[in-house]
């Protein structure tokens, strides 16, 4: 009994899980303290509202419907986090995911609203667009030695302004939002496959949901079971050793960022082609989805399977934040909590070392007693 317990603690995956739980608890605790500072009276209720999200609806039907809405937004987040973690495995920090997501949204909406193409064509074009941005970053990284974080940020802003200009012709006359796909081109809507019935006729629950999970599994297989995945991980662990073994480091960098960009852009099309939200052509910053993807990727212990759960969690508290009492607090409190979680994820390595040291010490002590 004792032995199995100890080997569980030594397990890398289990350690990541514990570290993530610690990050979440500390993040929520700090969020609670901030709420206490703003207004002590409603703080406990507010943090509970954030954690509960859709459970706050008393009827099962309504709760199920809003559970569906959370899932609708969790699917693009999952793809963004896959995008970030896929690049991170190869030692690249794809902060450009936010811009690739934004660019993907622009292209899929343009294809759907202006060119009237069916949904899968829109999605493919969006993915190609995202991949193009990734290739630019990758090319600059491998041939011009430009840090991918800085080029990523520059491309984020460039794509934001490009998308605003691109979508300006297909916006509604009276508002600054793009036309609703539902009214213009129903072929571009993602098929529902009857999933909407499961969530009390939530019309936005579509193919996106199973598709995003399938992509997560495919990414896991690519990373763990293929030659490409092995090369990428080797490059991420030690660039020089990988090059010494004859791996094409530069090509791999570009390929990684291209796939990573395509993933983020696919996330955008999985979201905007449901018609849940329209693009505002006066947006002054890229959607937060890409940045939240970073939080989800690290919280999920950089594993595609972990990302499925962490994306849901991050989206869950983000949605929950929308329900706080607006006369006392603002909904950005959940952004604050997720950014604190990202910050704490920086300490995961330290936590793991600490855990390993604890285990070693207790083992030594045992050995001494026997």
């Amino acid at each position: 009994m004792e032995k199995t317990k100890r080997s569980l603690l030594k397990n890398q995956g289990f350690q990541s899980f514990i570290a993530s739980i610690i990050c979440i608890l500390l993040g929520l605790l700090i969020g609670y303290i901030v709420l206490l500072f703003i207004n002590a009276e409603g703080a406990t209720q507010a943090i509970l509202v954030i954690i509960k999200n859709f459970f706050k609806y008393p009827s099962a039907g309504a709760a199920m419907k809003y559970f569906g809405s959370t899932l609708v937004k969790a699917s693009p987040l999952l793809l963004c986090s896959l995008s970030v973690l896929f690049a991170y495995k190869a030692g690249l920090f794809n902060i450009g995911a936010a811009g690739q997501y934004c660019f993907g949204a622009g292209i899929c909406l343009y294809c759907a609203l202006s060119l009237r193409l069916p949904w899968f064509v829109c999605m493919v074009f969006a993915m190609l667009g995202g991949a193009l941005l990734g290739i630019i970053s990758g090319f600059l990284k491998s041939f011009c030695n430009v840090n991918e974080v800085i080029s990523g940020i520059m491309l984020n802003w460039i794509s934001l302004y490009t998308v605003n200009t691109l979508l300006a012709p297909v916006k509604e006359e009276t508002s600054h939002y793009t036309l609703n796909i539902y009214n213009v081109n129903t072929d571009a809507m993602l098929p529902k496959l009857g999933l909407d019935k499961l969530f009390t006729n939530n019309q936005y629950v579509t193919l996106a949901l199973p598709l995003s999970v399938i992509v997560a599994i495919v990414i896991w297989i690519i990373l763990e079971k293929t030659k490409l995945g092995f090369e990428l991980r080797a490059t991420g662990l030690n660039k020089n050793a990988a090059r010494y073994c004859g791996m094409a480091e530069r090509t791999n960098t570009i390929l990684t960022l291209a796939i990573s960009g395509a993933l983020a852009a696919m996330g955008a099309s999985l979201f905007y082609l449901t018609g849940y939200e329209q693009w505002s052509v006066t947006s002054s910053s890229v959607p937060a989805m890409g940045f939240n993807g970073i939080a989800a990727a690290f919280l999920g212990g950089l594993s595609p399977i972990g990302a499925i759960f962490s994306s849901f969690f991050i989206q869950h508290i983000t949605e929950g934040g929308a329900y706080v009492d607006k006369t006392k607090y603002c909904s950005q409190i959940s952004d604050l909590i997720s950014s604190i979680i990202i910050y704490l994820c920086g300490f995961v390595l330290f936590m793991k070392t600490f855990m390993n040291n604890m285990i070693r010490k207790s083992e030594l002590k045992k050995g001494g007693n026997e």
Binding site: I38, C144, I158, Y161, S339, I342, Y343, F347
Partner: protein, 312 residues
């Protein structure tokens, strides 16, 4: 034309301040990607102070505001210092976290203050139209801003501090070869910590200089629009040297200023280009410039690598 020069100098001042911050941090061996977040927090501290100091004498307003921004920036940069120097965290993750956290924190704080003052006010705006006037001296049609003077002084101080003092040379040693620096008795951790704190100081002042540059109220939900990263591009283009950073900042500042004033310049307004082109310009230029200059980069050798005593 004088308007173009005025805005160029203003934005160049911001870029110089923030890029110098990055320069100090990187010379000590810590990559500070969190400059954007530091700017937001510094800007928030400064803007709230400016708003509170409405009717005080000019000199008091300037000194207190600049100090408030600098202190906010330094306190915030401690988060980076503790995580990256003491706990040896990944500097990229922590920097990114600080950027996202900065905007979220500033929004939450400003909104909380706004809601407390007036429950109907759920915006994240801070107005400082009165306080902002303290920073401006009118010379004919040209508006000289005190931040230009402050930047000029700090630029000279930074140059002297980095190249002519014992502290600066030791700081640079820690970024080039920390083991060698340690072997002659320099406390690498303390040096790196001071490098990060200086970057917080300069980044904080840069933040308040940025938001008071063009407008008289700021919406904190928007952060500082990638200016922290533009400053990093300026720093790389300036090859981590203060005097070259100043020249690089003038170039970038000019392109940023164009988006504010292009409609007033007849040659440019005749081209009838879309205004988004001018908005994109600084980012496109910086990508091109980085692509051309990064190959032979003279980055500090040990930047980004956490220092561990006894590691070879």
């Amino acid at each position: 034309m004088s308007l173009l020069i005025q805005y160029t100098l203003l934005y160049a001042s911001v870029l110089i301040l923030v890029a110098l911050g990055g320069c100090f941090s990187e010379h000590s061996g810590v990559i500070n990607l969190g400059l954007e977040g530091i700017m937001v927090i510094g800007a928030m501290g400064g803007a709230l102070t400016l708003k509170a100091l409405g009717g005080y004498p000019v000199i008091v307003v300037i000194i207190v505001t600049v100090l408030a921004s600098a202190v906010c920036g330094m306190v915030y940069s401690l988060l980076l210092a503790i995580a990256c120097i003491n706990f040896k965290s990944d500097q990229t993750i922590i920097g990114t976290a600080l950027n996202i956290l900065g905007t979220a924190l500033a929004t939450v704080i400003v909104k909380a203050i706004n809601i407390a003052n007036n429950p109907d006010d759920v915006s994240s705006n801070v107005q400082y139209i009165q306080g902002k006037k303290a920073f401006i001296i009118n010379i004919g049609s040209f508006q000289l801003n005190y931040f230009m003077i402050i930047t000029f002084i700090l630029l000279i101080v930074a140059y002297i501090l980095l190249y002519k003092t014992r502290f600066g040379l030791r700081l640079m040693a820690c970024g080039e070869h920390p083991q060698a620096a340690d072997s002659v008795g320099i406390n690498v951790y303390a040096m790196r910590c001071s490098g990060v704190l200086i970057s917080g100081f300069l980044g904080g002042i840069g933040g308040i200089a940025y938001i008071t540059a063009g407008v008289s109220e700021w919406k904190f939900e928007n952060g500082v629009a990638g200016f922290g990263f533009l400053a990093l591009a300026v720093m790389i283009f300036g090859q981590w040297k203060p005097h070259r950073i100043a020249l690089a900042a003038l170039l970038f500042g000019c392109f940023r200023a164009l988006s504010n004033v292009y409609s007033g310049i007849s040659v440019l307004s005749d081209l009838k280009l879309n205004s988004t082109i001018y908005n994109m310009m600084p980012y496109i230029i910086s990508l091109i410039v980085l692509a051309l200059t990064s190959r032979n980069s003279r980055a500090p050798k040990a930047e980004g690598i956490p220092y561990e005593k006894g590691m070879r």
